[in-house]
Amino acid sequence: MKRAARYIIFYAALFGLWTLLAELKIWPPYLFPTPWGVGESLYAGFADHSYWIAIRVSMERVLIGYAISVALGMILGLGVASNKFLEETMGGLLVSLQSLPSICWWPLALLWFGLNQNAILFVVIMGSLLSVTLAMEDGRKQMPKIFGQAGRNLGAKGFKLFWYVLLPASLPFIVSGLKQGWAFAWRSLITAEMLYLSLGLGQVLMMGRDLNDMSAVIAVMILIIAIGYIVDGVVFKGMERHLQNRWGLTPAS
């Protein structure tokens, strides 16, 4: 309860400061809106369905892109982890590629796919694929070898070995990488969406700028933060807690 009280105090103070600054009118209201203004924008955006549509479009894209990243990343990571040659060659390449911001793939994606959905998906995948791959590689190496041996010993091989043994056995070691991959996917998506008429949250954000509507800009920023936070806090936290319970690990706090 004390923790909840601290939260309330912190956010009340933040809110108060914001209101105060806005009411003092140091900056013109169209550059520094009040919290109420942002609230009204949020309400209006949901009321005319434009935010719902934007959220749906963005979520669809990020889910497809992330799913492809996870599937590809697991295969790649497993390959790199279990093959000495791949590890030595591709391992280094993957790490170096990680220093490239995913939006740098945008010009390439535009030329390859044209100005469409696929270009956005490509950027999302490139944004999250690397962290999933590296997480999988790392997880596969950290995973105690005994699980793989026990699985083979009990007659599992090939895809069955991967699906029923290696994957679940490495899950506790890759969940943080999966989470990071999600965060990268989400950021890449919004960035890419901002660069072209895409119907997603990124475009709604840019529309606020085009209309000089700072309340709308901040409203959409809040939405983007909220969605990222909810997925992180609900989906991934839940998954981590589930794994900790199953494996009998003490939560790393």
Binding site: Q149, G151, R152, N153, W247, G248
Partner: protein
């Protein structure tokens, strides 16, 4: 196996016939007879497991060639309980991993029923020192795992899960997760999981080494009972000579690096035996004297050369 357990230190000769262990009358207590597969008697001259001239060498990280196992010959009859003892580093765990098909030997042949093995197979199941149970599955699902891989129908799997969990006295824990069990219970689940795939041969790699003395005593009794009820062939690796004599029909002593068969000791004491039995202690002494030479050699090697590279690729630190 002698059913008249309490009489004189009886003759316990190696039978010429393949051993069909006695099946006590209380068998039905553990479920339908159809569930536990009987071991098919095979012609006496073909051993259940035959190791011929097994050698294993490999390159260490520093590049030198290390001979871990050297020309091992061993014949294990169907239904026999063979214990392998040796100092740590003699490659006894590695030998089990080879029989399990998890690694390949450098030379020599491993035969089961006269046929060379092709990688891992559910006719030979290894029970690891650290159980190797899957923490993401329940106890029941762990026991089910091998059957699922084999494609055993669901209904049959469920029946067998119950049967084998009852066999190791863990029926109530079917829905528990592994971390909720004690060390001894985990090792019993590992035994149930291994038995559920109905292997002819159980390979046990120091399965009780990490357990406390009382739990270990209990599991010795249970293992002996399960062995006599299911008629499996067991190859049991331990560094504990008394444990080997407590359980084995025969004790095989390996030398220290490279591992060779130094000697074999038939155990001719009536069952059930007890760890504290003076006869067990007496039998152990003879083996211990020979083992001590090997232990001394291993200590010398360690102290003179500093820390040697681990020579058991199958064993995770």
């Amino acid at each position: 196996m002698s059913t008249s357990a309490h009489n004189v230190p009886a003759q316990f000769p190696i039978p010429v016939e393949p051993v069909m262990p006695a099946r006590p009358g209380n068998r039905s207590k553990f479920g339908p007879v159809s569930v536990g597969r009987q071991v098919r008697p095979i012609s006496p001259e073909v051993p259940k497991v035959g190791l011929s001239e097994i050698s294993l060498s490999y390159r260490t990280q520093s590049g030198e060639r290390l001979l871990a196992l050297d020309n091992i010959n061993l014949q294990v009859r169907a239904g026999e309980f063979v214990c392998i003892v040796g100092p740590s580093g003699c490659g006894k765990s590695t030998l089990l991993h080879l029989i399990a098909g998890l690694h390949s030997q450098t030379s020599g042949q491993i035969l089961v029923d006269g046929n060379p093995i092709q990688g891992p197979g559910t006719d030979r199941i290894l029970i690891f020192q650290e159980h190797g149970l899957f923490p993401w599955l329940t106890v029941g699902q762990n026991v089910e795992f091998g059957m699922k891989m084999k494609g055993v129908p669901k209904a049959e799997r469920e029946e067998k899960i119950r049967y084998y969990l009852r066999l190791v006295h863990l029926a109530k824990f079917e829905k528990s997760y592994i971390h909720q069990l004690s060390g001894g219970m985990r090792q019993r689940v590992a035994i149930a999981r291994a038995l559920a795939t109905e292997p002819d041969v159980l390979l046990m790699d120091e399965p009780f080494a990490a357990l406390d003395a009382q739990t270990r005593d209990l599991l010795h009794d249970e293992l002996e009972r399960i062995w006599s009820e299911t008629g499996r062939t067991i190859i049991f690796v331990t560094h504990n000579v008394r444990e080997a004599i407590r359980l084995g029909d025969r004790v095989v002593l390996l030398t220290f690096r490279p591992g060779r068969v130094k000697n074999e000791f038939p155990v001719e004491l009536p069952r059930p035996r007890h760890l504290e039995d003076p006869n067990v202690a007496r039998a152990a002494r003879e083996i211990l004297d020979e083992l001590r030479e090997e232990i001394n050699r291993s200590l010398e090697a360690e102290y003179s050369a500093g820390v040697k590279p681990r020579i058991e690729p199958g064993v995770e630190a």
